[in-house]
């Protein structure tokens, strides 16, 4: 599979000269499978340039896998070109809620006063589906969604193809209420999604000092992200969901800290940035 990061900023799109190296678009990752299928992880503002890049050559079927309904993960959907194409088969997957289906939860974003066009009038007539509780197949991949620690119904994803896995947990606070370095792995939120994954895209929004002021907000510190990757045996961690207030220079400092933390382990740590690709 080929994985391309189109947006890795957290919480709020943050364009400008101080964020140009890592990018200011909110969460969106394209996954091209070996059979030609296209999976898109989250529909933050990064999905807009992705749609433009696909142009008229987009696949007939596109599956968008939403982790949760916070605005920075769905705000780009309305500006994703293929959604206006009546010929495309668009499947939007998202976290199950105990109360309401995905379509009814997303519909307010496609209705006045937030948007002039109603969901029912979209030319592509997307199908909205709650993620299953068991693994399922999309194209040549096996997909797993699992609820993870983050406020409100939120899932992380694991995409497996040809014995390799991508784990995507952009908004995740596994250390909330847990001693991450000591607790048995079966009690770590998101553990099996990330276990042994070739690439782990994981929340690393805060520095250790920032996290102390934001416990329970649903995001991880650099330290906790590195610990989570180590416990999961994920050899390649890309810190994701960069804080909108962090400049490129601050992110470089976070990377330096992450490298210090991981120096004693076998894992590699990097910062997700727009345009970054992984192939495996």
């Amino acid at each position: 599979m080929k994985v391309t990061v189109w947006g890795c900023r957290g919480s709020l799109a943050s364009p400008g000269p101080e964020t140009v190296r890592f990018g200011g678009q909110t969460s969106c990752v394209a996954v091209h499978l070996s059979d030609g299928s296209l999976l898109i992880l989250d529909a933050g503002t990064g999905i807009r340039p992705l749609g433009m890049a696909l142009g008229g050559d987009h696949p007939q079927r596109i599956d968008i896998l939403i982790t949760h309904l916070h605005t920075d993960h769905i705000e780009g959907l309305r500006f994703f070109d293929p959604i206006w194409d009546p010929a495309v088969q668009l499947n939007v997957w998202g976290p199950p809620s105990p109360i309401r289906g995905l379509r009814s939860r997303i519909a307010p974003f496609f209705a006045p006063p937030f948007f002039p066009v109603h969901l029912r009038n979209l030319p592509s007539q997307p199908e909205f589906r709650d993620t299953p509780t068991t693994t399922w197949r999309i194209g040549s991949a096996v997909v797993t969604a699992q609820l993870v620690k983050h406020p409100g119904p939120t899932v992380g994803y694991r995409i497996e193809e040809n014995g390799q896995a991508l784990a995507y947990l952009p908004d995740h606070e596994p250390a909330l209420g847990s001693e991450l370095s000591e607790v048995e792995t079966e009690w770590i939120s998101g553990f099996t999604l990330a276990e042994g994954a070739a690439v782990l895209l994981h929340d690393g929004q805060y520095t250790h000092a920032e996290y102390d002021e934001r416990v329970g907000w649903g995001h991880s510190s650099t330290e906790d992200a590195v610990t989570f990757a180590r416990r999961a045996g994920a050899p390649r961690l890309a810190l994701f969901h960069h804080d909108p207030l962090h400049t490129d220079a601050q992110l470089e400092a976070i990377l330096a800290r992450a490298n210090e933390l991981s120096a004693s382990g076998a894992g590699q740590v990097e910062l997700a940035r727009e345009g970054m690709t992984f192939e495996f």
Binding site: P98, L147, Q164, G177, S178, T192, E195
Partner: protein, 140 residues
């Protein structure tokens, strides 16, 4: 790509995290009724530590502490608060007696409620319990 470990449901993880920080005794069971955790506050009441008991299947924990009513009649699993929570999918409360792992008899009362993630899907249940201040005098 090694992927060999099981994963607890997030709701159970959150329940255990919460229980581990409470001073109220809490008992957590999974979707099969298996005891998967009780907290430190529960240990003096149950007379054992969770490290000692580990996981216990429903049929095991239901007899481990010999639950009886105030007249000494055994209470079957299905009539214990956790049993009712499981069987009927609703909260349940009951005063009863147990014999702790330290062989001390105690009068307790317990309230249990099911963990429903959908109207028809139960992934576990929680019981909170405490010793009655004066044996056998709790209001029913």
């Amino acid at each position: 790509m090694a992927k060999t470990h099981a994963q607890r449901n997030l709701i159970l993880i959150l329940a255990r995290d919460l229980a581990s920080r409470l001073a109220t005794p809490v008992f957590v069971v999974d979707h099969e009724g298996t005891l998967v955790y009780f907290n430190e506050a529960a240990e003096p009441v149950l007379g054992r530590t969770y490290a000692e008991t580990g996981e216990l299947r429903a049929g095991e924990w239901a007899t481990e502490w010999s639950p009886t009513d105030d007249e000494g009649r055994p209470i079957p699993l299905e009539d214990l608060p956790l049993g009712v929570a499981f069987r009927e999918g609703r909260a349940s409360h009951l005063p009863f007696r147990i014999v702790g792992g330290d062989r001390v008899a105690r009068a307790i009362e317990a309230t249990a409620f099911p963990l429903l993630i959908r109207e028809d899907e139960i992934i576990g249940a929680i019981a909170v319990f405490w010793e009655r201040s004066s044996e056998g005098t709790a209001d029913r």
